[in-house]
Symmetry: C3
Subunit: 349 residues, 3 copies
C-alpha cells in the first residue's frame, strides 16, 4: 500500500524526449509520460482505449501521444483527440495524472486530481542557487519503498554496507536523536573529533581542506512524506562549529533520495547529491555521481535480499531499536496518510 | 479457451527429423511428434506412461518412439509396444492425436479423434502449382492467438507498426468492408492510384514493373476458423483492373498466417508468403522471407505488451470500430465453436 | 514433504570459508552456515532478528556471525551476542540447527534438535582408509529429491541416458532383485560374461587389467534413509568371483549420492565416487570427477523435465515395475518417516 494523494518523482526530465513517450509504472499504475507541443510533460494511463496497446510504444506528433498500433491520438487530458477515419467523441477516456516538471524532476500525482496542488511540491534547498551543484542517477530496486526509507533513516548501516567509502566505526557509536519538525521526521547524529572516511577526505581535498585534519561530522536525515529522504551531511575542521562552521572550514552537501513506489515490492530510487562546494566543477560532479552510484549499489543487494526474506517469513516481527526510530516514525506517518485516504474518511470540516 | 475439434498447424515438416522427436505444446497439451518407419508423422502425449518422462527427449527406432529414460517404446496409437524385460500389455495408453502432413505443413487435431477428417484440412490456393513459390518461418508469441488474429484482420496497423516497409498512409484512409463468405470472414480494402510502399516497389522491380508507376493496391484478409488468416495482397499498374489485372501488369501473393494456440496467453505463429511471380527465383524467396521476418518481428513486441496490458486490466472493454469488424467476427466464430464443444451440446440431429 | 528429523549433507567443507558464511536453503529453510573461532561449523536461520536481513550476506568476526547490514553479532546458538550500542538480552532468538562436519561433509539436522545424535551420521566405507580415494561435486536440480532417488535405484536408465559412458544393453537384460537389509533398501544386479562399457574400460586400464577381457559386472544400490544412495559398482575379470574377486582381478568403487531437499521441487545433489584402486593417483581422481560430472549432467535435463511433466499432470499414476521396486520401497520408508513426524505421533513406549 502506498499513499496516492501525493507528489512522487516520476522521471528525470531528460528521460522524456520530445517525440518519444516514457512508460513507467508508479504506485502500481502503468503510465505513459510525454511532452506536448509546448514541451510540457503529460501523464496518462499506458493503455490505448482502442485495443489496449501500451501508448508508451507510440510516438508524439503535434503535441499528441499517438498510439503505435493503429494511430489513435491521445490528449493530455486522457481523451482521444483523433483517429484516422474515426469519430472519437464517444471513446472512453483514460486516466490523466496531474504532473509537473519542477526543481529538476518530473513529479506525478497518482491520486485524486482535485487535491493536487503544484505548490505543495517541496522546493529543495539547493534550487536556483548558483553556488550549489547537483548530480544523480536512477536505480530500480525490488523492495518495498519503506525498506529503502528505513535504510536511509538509519545510517549505522554505513559502517557495514559502505565500510570502504562513507562508513566508519564512529557512526555506530555516536548517539542518535529523532524528532518531528513540521511534519518531517528528523534523525540527527553528530560525531566530534574524528578522522574523515574516504569519501569525505576526497571532498575535503577538493575543497582545499587538509584531509588528515580532525573533523566534526554530521548526518541530519529528513523523511519528507510520503517517501523521500534528504540528508544533510558534511564535515568541518574540528572545533569550528560543525554544521554551523563558516563555509571555508567545512564541506557539506545534501544526499537526495527521491523514492517512488512501483509495486508493493519494488520502487524507483532517484538518488543524487547536491553539494555546496566547487559548484562549477563539472568533473567533480561526475566523480561524485560515480562514487555515489557504487555506494548505493551496495545497498541494492542487501535490500532486495531483505525483501525476499520478509516475503519468506511474513509473520515475523522486526525489532524497533533506538536507531530504527526514524524509520518507525516514517512508517507511522505513511500509515496515517493511508488511513486518511480510505473511503469514508472525510477531510476535516 | 480454444476450439479443440479442429486442425492446427503443429510444425513445419523439417522440424521433425527421421530419428528425433519434436516436443511442442499445442492447445495446452504437451505433444511429442515423430516419424514412424514409413516417414509418416505421429503425435502422442509427451508423457511416458512408465515414470512420466517427456517422450520428446527420446529417439525413434524401427518406427517407434523410444523413451530416453528407460527404453519404453511407444506406438503411434499411444499404446506401449515394448519395454526391455517387461510385459507391456497392461500399461495405460496415452493420448494419440490425429495428425497429417499436408500442403507443406504438419497438422494436428487436439480434440475428439472420431471427428477428425483429413479432407477438412483446407487446400491452399498455391499448393501444387509450379508458378507459385512459398517461403516462411515460425515465431513464438506470448499472446492469446486472438490478438494475433485481430492484428491480421485489421491492417491499418501497418501504417504505424510497419511504416518503413509495407505501411502507408493510404491504408488508414481507404474504406474497409467485412463480410462472411462460406464460413470465412473476409475483410477487404482497395487503394487506387497510389504509389507503392518499399516492399511492393521491390516486388515490382523483381517482376519487371516500374516501381515508380502509380498502382492500385489490394488487401483481402480471410479468417479461416479456428485460427488462420490468409491475405491476398498485391499491386497492379493503375487502371488495369487491380486484383483482376492480367499477370504481366501486377504482382501479387498470399500472406500466410497459420496460428496455433500454445497456452491461453501464447501461440505459435507460422508465417510466410506464397507468391505468384518469379516462382523459380530461390534467392528472391530468401529475400522475401528475411524481409517478412523483420516485419512480423515488429508485431511481436506490440502484441506481447498488449497482452500484458490486458492481463493488468482484465475488466476493461475494448472498442469495436469498423476496422475491428474482421477480428470481432472471427472471435464470434471462435465463441460458437467453443460453445459447440461444451459437454451436453449435441450435433444437430 | 521431507523428513526433518534426519541428517542431511548441507555443504562440502570448503564451501564454508573461515570468514565468510554460506547461505543455503535446506528442507525449505534458509540457513546461514559459518565457522566459529574454533573452525567448527555452525548453522542458524538466515534471518537477522533486527530487520530480517540475510545473515549470509555478512561476515565472521571473532567466531560470531556478524550481520552485514547493521552489525548485529549472532552466536551459534541463535542468540544475539552483541550489537553496537545496544542491549541485546531481550532480542528474540532465531533457530540454530545441529550441525557436524564428518566424513568429508558438513551435515545438518533441520528437525527437532533434541533428537539429533551425531553418532547416527553413517560412516562411509571408504572413510579413513588410505587405499580409497574420493572425488566429487555438487549440482542443483530442479526436481523433487525422490525423482533423483528413483533414478539411482533403477539403473536401467544408464542404457539410455548414459549410453556412451556407463550404459550397456546388458543392464536392461540382467535380472534385478530388491530387498531390505537393516533399514536400507538394496537393489542388486549382476551381469556375467560381458564386455565392459567405456567408463569401466578406462578404469580397467588404469588398474592394469586388459580392457578387452570379458568381465562380470555388478551394481548394488543402497538407499540409506532419508535420501542418500550409495552404489557398489565394479567389474572383475570373468570367472573370478565377481564382487568377491581378489583385488588384483577387479576394479570397484562406490558411487556416492548424497541428496538434500531444497524445496518440494528442487534439491542439492552432492555426487562423487570413492574408488578402491590407484588411490594415490590425484590426476585419476580429476579424470573420474570430470567424467562423472558429465554423466550426471545427462540426468539433469531428464529429471527436471520429468518434474515439469509431473507438475503438469499431477493426477497421473506412474507405473511401478519390478525395476522400480527400489524407488518404490524408498518412498515407502520416506512416507513412514513423515508419518512418524506428524504431530501427535509418539515414539514407541
Amino acid at each position: 500500500m502506498f499513499p496516492r494523494n501525493a507528489w512522487y518523482v516520476a522521471a528525470m526530465p531528460d528521460e522524456i524526449a520530445a517525440d518519444k513517450p516514457l512508460g513507467r509504472r508508479i504506485c502500481g499504475e502503468p503510465m505513459a509520460l510525454y511532452r506536448d507541443e509546448h514541451g510540457l510533460v503529460a501523464a496518462v494511463e499506458d493503455f490505448c482505449p482502442h485495443r489496449g496497446a501500451p501508448l508508451s510504444l507510440g510516438f508524439v506528433q503535434s503535441g499528441k501521444l499517438v498510439c503505435g498500433y493503429h494511430g489513435l491520438a491521445m490528449g493530455r487530458d486522457g481523451r482521444t483527440c483523433s483517429m484516422p477515419c474515426q469519430r472519437v467523441r464517444g471513446f472512453p477516456a483514460i486516466k490523466a495524472y496531474p504532473v509537473a516538471e519542477r526543481y529538476g524532476f518530473v513529479w506525478v500525482w497518482p491520486g485524486d486530481p482535485a487535491q493536487a496542488r503544484e505548490q505543495d511540491i517541496p522546493v529543495p534547498i539547493w534550487w536556483d542557487k548558483p553556488d550549489w551543484a547537483y548530480g544523480g542517477g536512477l536505480y530500480h530496486m525490488k523492495c518495498d519503498f519503506r525498506l529503502l526509507v528505513d535504510n536511509l533513516m538509519d545510517l549505522t548501516h554505513e559502517t557495514y554496507v559502505h565500510s570502504t567509502s562513507i562508513g566508519q566505526k564512529e557512526i555506530d557509536e555516536a548517539p542518535v536523536a529523532t524528532r518531528m519538525e513540521e511534519g518531517v521526521v528528523v534523525t540527527e547524529r553528530y560525531m566530534e573529533k574524528i578522522y574523515a572516511p574516504p569519501f569525505w577526505r576526497m571532498a575535503m581535498q577538493a575543497n582545499d581542506l587538509d584531509p588528515d585534519a580532525q573533523v566534526d561530522r554530521w548526518q541530519i536525515c529528513r523523511f519528507v512524506p510520503p517517501s523521500n529522504v534528504l540528508i544533510d551531511v558534511g564535515v568541518a575542521l574540528q572545533g569550528h562549529g560543525g554544521f554551523h562552521a563558516p563555509d571555508d572550514k567545512k564541506v557539506h552537501s545534501v544526499v537526495v533520495d527521491y523514492i517512488t513506489p512501483e509495486t508493493e515490492t519494488s520502487c524507483w530510487y532517484f538518488w543524487g547529491m547536491a553539494r555546496h562546494f566547487k559548484a562549477d566543477d563539472a568533473a567533480l560532479t561526475d566523480t561524485i555521481r560515480t562514487g555515489q552510484g557504487k555506494i548505493f549499489a551496495e545497498d541494492l543487494e542487501m535490500l532486495e535480499r531483505q525483501q525476499a526474506n520478509l516475503l519468506h517469513w511474513p509473520q515475523r516481527q522486526l525489532l524497533k531499536l533506538n536507531i530504527d526510530t526514524g524509520g518507525v516514525m516514517a512508517r507511522k506517518i505513511v500509515d496515517q496518510l493511508l488511513a486518511a485516504e480510505r473511503p469514508g474518511v472525510g477531510a476535516p470540516a
